[in-house]
């Protein structure tokens, strides 16, 4: 009877305990082979896709993205907008950093103030420059005051703004902090040999336990070597599997391939000025209609890309599902060119960076071939990325008689933010975009200030419609898939944002 009572008590207590705390210690070890390089473990100084994949293993953000792309609380147990310029975050209580320091509102305040301190020269500064101050309401409540209403703050807080222990980060110098991180994430950093490997070990204080006790990440820049390492069993999982090597992995018998549409959109921008033929919207539309996107995604991207109507995919906030990608209609394209007075066609240079975008050069060569069928001659110029950026950002300094040009870009939008894509490619303020339209600028600016989510979403959808059907500011293309190779012992759900986060990878 006594034993039954004890058992009943144990069971009752185990059901009452919050889910995050009862996670038993993790077991096992995995080895991942990743292509991207990791430059630092200082969570506030830099930003890059590899950084945003590694840092969540060690640190926590206030909010986070789930694998399906939806956003929710993370280190904060809840959050709300208390006024248009104030966001309030209630933290999970009683949690500790891996060094035993308490996680509280002071840590939140310190972490954001560290990013905003210009002495740190943080690359994340531009993401958080709308913050006016951070207010500590009580031990577990912090308020972020913004200079003006900022609905874009929450999606950014799901990527950056990692919370760190103030005392530790005040005490040590930057050089030390770059290699000795302390956070509250699932793992602690056990060993890091730059350019070689990172070894993560379960954080004993973690509230969000990793799937396995030890995760080793090997840095393997060359894709054929990554594939060989997977097939030979040297690693258990790889990222950035090139489409052409999928067959080798699937036919090996000991590994499989997982691919998922990512928020990385490929598109072509143009320098639009009076002297160029594509200053006429009919020409821009013709250039869009002349591209057989389905053929490119099927034959060149090997099924690993999906055409988009403008710049965003289905998971993005503000995506307009009613808008379809431009159809392939060369006849109409030819007619539009003739109507615009360019029946004999024209020629121009189009730039693309070398080896940066998945199958980019091959796809662009095919696009140039499709344009040639309607009389447009595009000279594809493959360039080194830094040199191309220099040409593109200086494009408005060239004289009017210098011919306009086009350029192929792709952007990973892990914030699933249509606003970011518009800022980068459409807005007049964009340092890369070649389109200038006050009406569109006003629409984007208005949406940016709209705090009601439903109303803002509608505004983005309307901007999308205007861009696709009326203004045609760019050549829209497709979103690529992220492709991963996994040994058969690995259990993992691909994320909508295309990231591979070691703490989410488990063993079967």
């Amino acid at each position: 009877m006594k034993r039954k009572l004890v058992l009943a008590l144990v069971l009752a207590v185990s059901f009452m305990w919050p889910a995050g705390s009862v996670n038993a210690a993790s077991k096992g070890k995995i080895v991942l082979g990743m292509g991207g390089k990791l430059t630092t473990f200082d969570p506030h100084r830099f930003s890059s896709l590899p950084i945003s994949m590694h840092h969540p293993n060690i640190f926590d953000t206030l909010l986070s993205r789930r694998p399906d792309g939806s956003m929710g609380p993370h280190l904060a147990k809840s959050y709300k907008m208390t006024s248009p310029k104030v966001w309030e975050f209630k933290l999970r209580e009683g949690l500790k950093f891996s060094n035993g320091a308490p996680i509280n509102a002071e840590a939140v305040k310190f972490s954001f103030e560290r990013i905003l301190d210009r002495k740190l020269k943080s690359k994340q500064y531009s993401y958080f420059k709308t913050i006016a101050k951070i207010e500590v309401v009580n031990e577990y409540t912090a308020r972020i005051h913004t200079k003006k209403p900022d609905p874009m703050l929450p999606p950014t807080l799901a990527i950056y703004g990692f919370i760190v222990p103030p005392k530790y980060y005040k005490k040590h110098e930057l050089k030390f902090l770059a290699r000795n991180p302390i956070g509250s994430g699932p793992y602690v950093l056990k060993k890091w040999r730059k350019g070689e490997e990172v070894i993560y070990e379960e954080n004993p204080n973690a509230w969000n336990k990793p799937k396995v006790k030890t995760a080793v990440v090997k840095f393997i820049p060359e894709s054929t070597t990554r594939v060989s390492a997977l097939i030979s069993g040297d690693v258990d999982m790889i990222d950035n599997l090139p489409p052409g090597l999928r067959g080798r992995v699937s036919s090996s018998g000991n590994a499989r391939v997982i691919s998922k549409q990512s928020p990385r959109t490929h598109y072509i921008l143009m320098v639009i000025k009076e002297s160029v033929p594509w200053n006429d919207v009919r020409v821009r539309l013709a250039m869009n209609l002349a591209i057989d996107r389905s053929s490119i995604t099927k034959n060149i991207m090997m099924g690993l890309a999906k055409p988009v109507a403008i710049l965003d995919g289905p998971v993005s906030f503000g995506h307009n599902p009613a808008l379809k990608p431009y159809p392939y209609n060369p006849t109409k394209a030819k007619k539009l060119l003739a109507d615009a007075g360019h029946s004999k066609g024209f020629s121009f240079d189009i730039y693309i960076p070398r080896g940066r975008f998945m199958m980019g050069k091959e796809a662009l060569t095919a696009i140039a071939g499709m344009w040639a069928r309607i009389g447009i001659k595009a000279n594809v110029k493959v360039m080194e990325w830094g040199s191309m950026k220099k040409i593109v950002t200086n494009r408005n300094k060239f004289n009017a008689d210098v011919p306009g040009f086009l350029y192929y870009l792709a952007r990973m939008n892990t914030a699933f933010s249509t606003q970011h894509m518009f800022n980068g490619a459409i807005s007049s303020k964009s340092i890369y975009g070649g389109f200038r339209d006050k009406e569109v600028d006003d629409m984007i600016g208005e949406a940016r200030q709209t705090m009601d989510n439903a109303a803002r979403e509608k505004k983005y959808q309307e901007i999308g419609r205007v861009l696709r059907d009326v203004k045609v500011p760019i050549i829209s293309l497709y979103q690529e898939y992220r492709v991963f190779g996994l040994s058969k012992k690995i259990s993992w759900t691909a994320r909508a944002d295309g990231k591979l986060i070691a703490s989410e990878v488990g063993l079967k």
Binding site: E196, S232, S387
Partner: protein, 305 residues
């Protein structure tokens, strides 16, 4: 001899200084690190602000003087994308590069020179023909292809060697061998032709006439006299290998200086490139100096007056 060495060291200093000026100017001409650092949705104000924070808004000569003053004190600046002292990052990778360079160098010497000698010794034989054929083939095969094929054969098919990374001797064999092949084949061919030339000299005929053993003739008389051009090439080869075998480092995920520099160039991480170039240029100049000094030992007719 002493004054010669001093003269060469002074020359080396100015040579390295010139290299640094050229590298500084070229790097700043090719692009702006701030553009690479910031996302595509950054505004022109963001860029201007970051440029100011990083000090890139100042005139080039001001930036150069600042760089040169710090470099004289051994401070090559902080890496733009690592946020750590650039020279320390380069030096951290240097042991891996040295390990691979010396390994590849050893393979090239230990295999290339005996093969060349034997081919010369057996001139016109089947062995000689096979040797020439193999060296031509090896020189023609790109090292990255050889590297990928060796991974597929030894790691995937046989499963006897690890496919990538740095660790024990097993990790070292494939990359060092792949990095050595071109140098090995070149050495073998050069050794063969040098030996053949020497073997036709009068003093070799005299040695044979004296009734000396062929092996003694080869090892004592011919080898040393063929060594001068070989030593020159060896010096250059070691310099090239120390400069980083970038492709091999990338294919085998070898954490050497070459890989770090390639990444730094594409991200316009000037301090890392400048640190690495300084280190490599100094190494190259030093090796050449040593090669020049070695000439005197090999050929006493060479003087440094």
């Amino acid at each position: 001899m002493g004054s010669y060495v001093i003269k060469r060291v002074i020359q080396a200093f100015f040579l390295i200084k010139l290299v640094m000026v050229i590298v500084f100017l070229l790097l700043h001409m090719t692009g702006d690190p701030v553009l690479i650092m910031l996302d595509t949705d950054a505004t022109s104000e963001d860029i201007a602000e970051m440029r100011k924070v990083m000090g890139f808004d100042q005139p080039l000569w001001v930036q150069y003087i600042r760089f040169f003053k710090s470099a004289l004190k051994g401070d090559f600046g902080e890496s733009i994308e690592h946020g750590e002292p650039a020279m320390a990052l380069v030096l951290e990778r240097f042991p891996a590069t040295l390990e691979m360079a010396l390994g590849a160098f050893m393979f090239a010497v230990v295999i290339g020179i005996p093969f060349g000698c034997l081919a010369a010794f057996k001139e016109g034989s089947l062995y000689d023909k096979i040797c020439i054929g193999i060296t031509v083939l090896i020189q023609a095969v790109p090292d990255f292809w050889l590297a990928i094929m060796s991974i597929m054969f030894f790691s995937v098919f046989l499963g006897v060697l690890p496919s990538f990374g740095r660790g024990g001797w097993q990790h070292f064999i494939m990359p060092a061998f792949a990095a050595s092949t071109y140098h090995m084949a070149r050495l073998a061919r050069l050794m063969r032709s040098q030996m053949l030339e020497v073997m036709r000299q009068d003093y070799i005929r005299t040695a044979r006439a004296k009734g000396l053993n062929e092996k003694v003739i080869l090892m004592v008389h011919a080898l040393k006299n063929s060594a001068i051009p070989i030593v020159t090439v060896l010096g250059l080869d070691l310099g090239i290998l120390l400069g980083g075998t970038v492709i091999i480092e990338v294919v085998f995920a070898w954490p050497g200086v070459g890989r770090l520099v390639i990444e730094a160039i594409s991200n316009r991480d000037f301090p890392i490139v400048q640190s690495a170039v300084f280190l490599m240029a100094s190494g190259f100049v030093l090796i050449n100096l040593m090669v020049d000094l070695l000439y005197a030992y090999l050929d006493p007719r060479i003087s440094y007056a």
